[in-house]
Each structure stands twice: as structure tokens, then as C-alpha cells.
Amino acid sequence: MKAIVNVYLKEGVLDPQGKAVHHALGSLGFDNVRDVRIGKQIVLELDASDPEAAKKEVEEMAETLLANTVIEEYTVEIVE
């Protein structure tokens, strides 16, 4: 079983990398971009059989280590 964790800066926390990329896209002529957020994706290979229990455990990992919830939010997706 695989878990995909996406971590982003929270709404309202300025994302300097997203801002720079947004600016670069604009200067390349891509004018239709309203906002850019840059995050990271963490892919975990799990030894688990119950997707629900696995999701819970990965959420705990995210709260403890994978994300810093002072500035970041995360999503967890379990894929077979």
C-alpha cells in the first residue's frame, strides 16, 4: 500500500517560492495564472492491509514530522 502526502504552506502564509514562480510565469507570457503555491510530495510505501488504519497512521506521521502545522497543511491519500 502506498500513501501520498502533500504538504503546502497554509493559506495566508506567504509562499516566497510560489511568488517567484508566479512572477516568472508572468514574464514568460503566461498571464492566466492567479496564484502559485509550491509544496512537497512525500510518497510512503507501507506494510499495511487496512487503508483506513494506514491513513490514520500517516496522518499521525504528518502531524509529528512530515508537516510543521504552525505554517503548513497537508493531505493524505492512500493508493493501492
Binding site: P16, L65, N68, V70
Partner: protein
């Protein structure tokens, strides 16, 4: 002035520990390097310093992995009993990740690694760290970081201002606030509510001799010895 036993932590990737040893020895104190796998701190530690560097290569987030090292459990317990802890640069990042200090440090606003001597304004001196500095005094201290963009939510920030937890702000040579890395309210250094845990991005241990550009750091670090 009291002679302090200063315990200086060492993680894989720490690179300012020997500068920190030099700085405190120069002030006449005893220092002990403490490897991150140690589960306890030397007895009679008067001050624990988490020095600068790139612990664990800054992987995931600066300080995020170091904060789970065995020695950090001992530091948590030490701080909870009122022991004094100072985090410099990566040490500041580690202390925020460990929730010993509020807030977090993000990538610099301009995305650059900034390395230069920086003017700082002293905001509060009612603490063991900056007791020998003057309020509104301008210090010149080196900075060298990519992730020094301090963030904390507005409510906590207002609370910190009221409690005298804001220690230093970035400024220009005239003392006017200046944006260096994007930190909220130009914050360069803070302490916890109990005023026993301190963190700052600038490097006082690199400003110990005028021949090297500034000795303002000595005055900062000396504060701990009179407490």
C-alpha cells in the same frame, strides 16, 4: 562574573559548534560539546547552546529531524525546569521545530542565502540574554541563512510583544526597521514566555573581536554570566 558551564550540542551537519566554544571560552567559561545521541546533558549545565549549521542537511525542513534526536529530550526536560537554552541560526530553527519557541522559520522572502554583517535593533533587555545591551541600541552581527523568515500568527505575535518576548529586529544603520528576509515585523530574535529559552538567526559567536568586524556579540553572550 560567574563562570558558566556551557553545553554546546552537536548534530550531524552542525558547523558552528567550535566558533561557539571559542566565543564562550574567550569570555572565561567552561564548554562541553554534547553529541546528539547523548540522552542526558552534563550535570551542572548553566546554559545549553544549540549552535548553527545544517543539521541533517536541512532535509524536509531546517531543524525538523534534529529535534527528535535523543539529546533534545534532555533539552526539553532541562528547559521545562527553567534551564537556559540559546538557539543560534539552525539552533533557533531546531527550537521552533521542538516547540520550545513559538512560530517557525520559512525560506527567505527573496529566496537567497543571505550572508553579511547586519544591523539589529535591541527591542527588549529585560531578560538574561540581552541584559548588557541597551534598549534601541544598534548591534552589528553577522547573519548567514536561507531560512530565516520568521512567521507566527498575529494573535501569538501580539501576545509576544506584550510579554517582552521580541528581542531583536532587523534594521538599517540608522536603526530604521528594514526587510531582510521577510520576517513578520522584522523579527530577528525572540524568547519564550518564561524567558529561559532564546532563539535568534544572527550569529553573536562570530562577533567577538573588533578585528573581525564587530565585538557586539560578546556583550550579548556575557549576559548569561550575570544571571
Amino acid at each position: 562574573m560567574k563562570t558558566l558551564n556551557v553545553s554546546i550540542l552537536q548534530f550531524p551537519g552542525t558547523n558552528c559548534e567550535y566558533d561557539t566554544v571559542y566565543a564562550f571560552r574567550r569570555l572565561g567559561h567552561e564548554t562541553t560539546l554534547v553529541w546528539h545521541k547523548e540522552e542526558s546533558l552534563p550535570e551542572e549545565s548553566d546554559l545549553v547552546v544549540v549552535p548553527g549549521g545544517f543539521s541533517y542537511g536541512d532535509y524536509l525542513r531546517a531543524g525538523s529531524i534534529a529535534r527528535f534526536s535523543p539529546v533534545m529530550k534532555a533539552v526539553q526536560a532541562y528547559a521545562a525546569e527553567g534551564g537556559k537554552v540559546l538557539g543560534i541560526c539552525n539552533g533557533f530553527q531546531i527550537l521552533t521545530e521542538a516547540h520550545l519557541l513559538p512560530g517557525a522559520l520559512k525560506r527567505n522572502q527573496n529566496l537567497h542565502f543571505i550572508s553579511r554583517i547586519q544591523s539589529l535593533k535591541v527591542v527588549d533587555t529585560d531578560n538574561d540574554f540581552l541584559r548588557f545591551c541597551q534598549k534601541d541600541e544598534i548591534l552589528r552581527i553577522p547573519i548567514a541563512h536561507a531560512d530565516g523568515n520568521y512567521f507566527v500568527d498575529d494573535e501569538t505575535l501580539d501576545d509576544m510583544e506584550r510579554n517582552g518576548q521580541i528581542l531583536l529586529r532587523y534594521c538599517d544603520e540608522n536603526g530604521d526597521p528594514t526587510v531582510v528576509n521577510g520576517s513578520v515585523r522584522q523579527i530577528a530574535g525572540i524568547c519564550n514566555r518564561e524567558k529561559n529559552v532564546f532563539g535568534l538567526m544572527p550569529h553573536p559567536e562570530r562577533a567577538m573581536e573588533s578585528i573581525l568586524g564587530s565585538e557586539d556579540g560578546a556583550r550579548m553572550l556575557e549576559g548569561f554570566a550575570s544571571a
